[in-house]
Symmetry: C2
Subunit: 507 residues, 2 copies
């Protein structure tokens, strides 16, 4: 127990950094017999307010009976430590928080009431300030999933999410962007689209999220090849130099609440429609985008399962985008099977690099999809005539210009490196001879996640067969990659007991 | 770091009891550089499976960088320690949990699907086994609040909640019970009804919950006068001897999932209709009750706010109760103002004791309500003719027989003691001269909670005025009681800035 800065008094306790990683949950620990806590009547799992100077947070209190802490000490998780911005030995004031008023509106929303503008802003502000415990975030997300927000609510939510973070301003009228609503493993077109459109003079300050429920987000994939946690000054410099960037949005406080919500959505394993629109558009508005191409893959096991669902989503993106002065063009694409061969950060990066290199064994489906999206963006921004964007995009890849631009962007972001290779692999053989008729994309994603993706960047699944391919009994359908034997075993056990690839009888 | 039982190997780590109170959230802490965790790819806030012998749990993982733990050690919260039933130095196997299958159904329920019988049983089983993190429990509760369960779902839920716990069997055809749906501060009739009906030969094995969102549950109140954490053998003995008991249900594993759900409902501060029916009836079915009288107070600021809401609730209780062979009689009562004078465990206990003693200053409204309920129960069970139950109940109080029985029951439960007295009090004066026209029950409850109730048993609010009373400016309307100065100040600050009692202009 060391007291550097000052002696405790009243409700002040001496802060101690515990080195406890709770992700971004805010946790504080005190002695159960700590006099302040006894006199305040705090009990375990209570929510308490901590204040140091001008910063204050609400954290979940745990109590210890051991000598881990002194009676006048207060141990903080890394997340709480950073939010308070304090040093070891600083005094922290602990008190009962006032009830979080916006939670009443969230409770009301569960019972069917909408949030008005003021309530939505109060809710997002409270979330940004760390006043919601995980169960409150789960309650908010459940309420939004159970009763889809209308366009007014969505607009208010996006505006509030943008308002609590940074906003990029650009000295140009056209800022292009693309987004895929996900759900399709391996659909990693961003690192291809960015260099193509940048090569034609457009500015594309692309920010991506990490995986929500998938084995890899674009940021996870790009991170295997270069730095993605750019600050705003670096991002601006990269875009001004190279016309494009591929950054992780979370490091920049563009719509920071989105990242908090994504963490809890991941735990809940839900990804609701309205939330998806708010997540995507809040990032785009904060990034200053004006022209957006959206890739919506549709398939039985993709995130969007039917044409009707896709059309509803398209309408929502276009209508709500318009409220922020954004031109949105939506491409509904094939979501019946994975795109490319790799599923998982490094394996998807290898696909990207082989397309850029025009390699003989490149995944042509990934190339075609990137050309489609880049072409649409070139047309939407007026660089190509209608119907000619795809051709222009294809030429940019074939000539090697896209590859050179990609590497230049990576170097501008920090470095350009090879993706890591997994230490453990296992090839999954076909149980039958026949023709591949169906992939279960959700289960494939589950195998990649059990193998460690995206936390273990080299982990995932590499596909050897596609729909329509004829395979022999015993022939490898896909290979599981992992960074540890334990994870390889889990993924393999799951893959062996769940149907992943359907093989039709040979004909 | 002490290793008593065995040396670690493979995925086994040496358990260490941290003395960390996280309430009933299951938490495990390892070193970030622990070899097992690195090879398994665990990250902070991951869910992990812990196994020791035949017991296994799923816990939330936090990681430390400090020397708090050894590389081969695994620190456990008290809740996780008890669930695993281990000793210091025991080996615990740590691994990735398989996905919790029932969560898919819960996600589906958010989007509008009902849970079928198998899904409901799987969900309740997984909750009972500790496989749901708090965010998952919040998701389940939100889904039930957002789309009220139908009678089939409720019946399945109750059956599942009963099945995972203990069930009491009695050698009698009639077992009576009562319940109040709450929301009305101070409505503490149970400790009056139990001795009255027991005095007439009925068996009433009453189990109560602690407060959910209120300043005191019946168990909290009774606990200020006797032991309430009875095991089943003790409860049975008390009922066989005395005809009735007043126990805390949570100590007995009667519908233990109810207690888990209540903890999270308390954090969320919600208390949905369907959940309320499931909570009450699961406890009653598990307790073996056959005849139940329900008190449903209705008022603008009570839990049930309109006659229509009350009637819907009555129908649900009667219909679902019938499926379990239970006769339910519902009394809709006045919920416009608190019952009795005390709000908070000890203050409510004082009201109960003064009614039992037929004291001059007893709260007559509490007495009348207890007589109403006990009378209805005596009639429902066939002890009194229709219309004569109330008179019989009143005589039982007036004669002192109820008081003697109450004390005998307390002694059978362990001891009979005086409720504690608060060290800090503050009288809140009326700002005007006039007539009391309205109480805000929710805010009154909030004052009592900010004062420390129910955690601090002596804390709460003691009322000096009732609706219709004429009061002078400066006259005390109520007194706040607290066990600490900090809590007194919080409660007072809230009371001074929020309208609690409406005073009409003097006429």
């Amino acid at each position: 127990m060391s007291v550097r800065a000052a002696a405790p008094n009243g409700n002040n306790l001496v802060a101690r950094r515990l080195g406890l990683d709770t992700h971004d949950e805010l946790v504080v620990i005190t002695r159960r017999d700590c006099p302040v806590c006894r006199s305040e009547g705090f009990s375990a799992h209570a929510r308490v307010r901590l204040k140091n100077g001008r910063r204050s947070i609400i954290a979940t209190l745990y109590q210890v009976e051991s000598e881990l802490l002194g009676l006048q000490e207060l141990g903080l998780s890394e997340s709480a430590w950073k939010r308070l911005g304090i040093g070891d030995g600083d005094l922290v004031h602990i008190s009962h928080p006032q009830p979080v008023a916006s939670l009443s509106a969230v409770r009301g929303r569960i019972y069917g009431k909408r949030l008005d503008r003021a309530q939505m802003h109060a809710t997002i502000n409270d979330i940004a300030a760390g006043r919601y415990a995980d169960v409150h975030l789960a309650m908010f997300l459940s309420s939004m999933a159970a009763r889809d927000p209308d366009d007014d609510e969505l607009t208010d939510m996006i505006a509030a999410m943008v308002a609590v973070g940074e906003k990029l301003e650009w000295p140009r009228d056209i800022i292009v962007d693309k987004h895929c609503v996900g759900g399709l493993p391996g659909n990693r077109t961003t690192p291809l689209v960015v260099p193509i459109v940048a090569e034609h003079g457009l500015w594309m300050p692309k920010t991506s999220s990490r995986a929500i429920t998938s084995p890899a987000g674009t940021a996870d994939t790009v991170e295997t090849m270069t730095r993605v946690d750019l600050d705003i000054a670096t991002l601006r410099k990269v875009v001004e130099q190279q016309g494009g960037c591929m950054a992780w949005g979370g490091a920049m406080r563009l719509s920071p609440v989105d990242d908090t919500l994504i963490r809890v959505e991941r735990l809940m394993d839900i990804d609701a429609e309205g939330q998806m629109v708010a997540s995507v558009l809040s990032k785009k508005v904060a990034a200053g985008s004006t022209h957006l191409v959206l890739d919506v893959p549709v398939g039985e096991t993709a995130k969007v399962r039917s044409q009707a669902d896709a059309e509803r989503l398209v309408a929502r993106f276009e209508q709500v985008g318009e409220r922020f002065g954004m031109k949105v063009r939506v491409l509904v694409t094939d979501g019946t099977q994975p795109v490319g061969r790799g599923i998982g950060p490094a394996l998807e990066a290898r696909d990207v690099l082989s397309v850029l290199a025009n390699a003989d064994d490149q995944p042509t489906d990934l190339r075609e999809r990137a050309v489609l999206l880049a072409g649409a963006l070139l047309e939407l921004a007026g660089v190509a005539e209608t119907g000619e964007g795809g051709m222009l995009a294809e030429e940019t890849l074939a000539s090697g210009r896209a590859r050179a631009r990609f590497e230049a962007i990576c170097r501008a972001q920090g470095d350009f490196r090879d993706p890591p290779v997994a230490s453990e692999t296992h090839a999954m053989p076909s149980a039958h001879t026949g023709v591949v008729t169906r992939f279960d994309n959700r289960r494939l994603a589950q195998v990649a996640k059990l193998a460690g993706a995206p936390g273990a960047p080299a982990a995932g699944v590499y596909m050897h067969a596609r729909i329509g391919d004829r395979v022999e009994r015993g022939q490898a359908l896909y290979t599981i990659h992992a960074e540890s034997r334990g994870e390889l075993a889990y993924a393999r056990e799951y893959a062996e007991t769940n149907g992943i690839v359907a093989i039709g009888s040979s004909s």
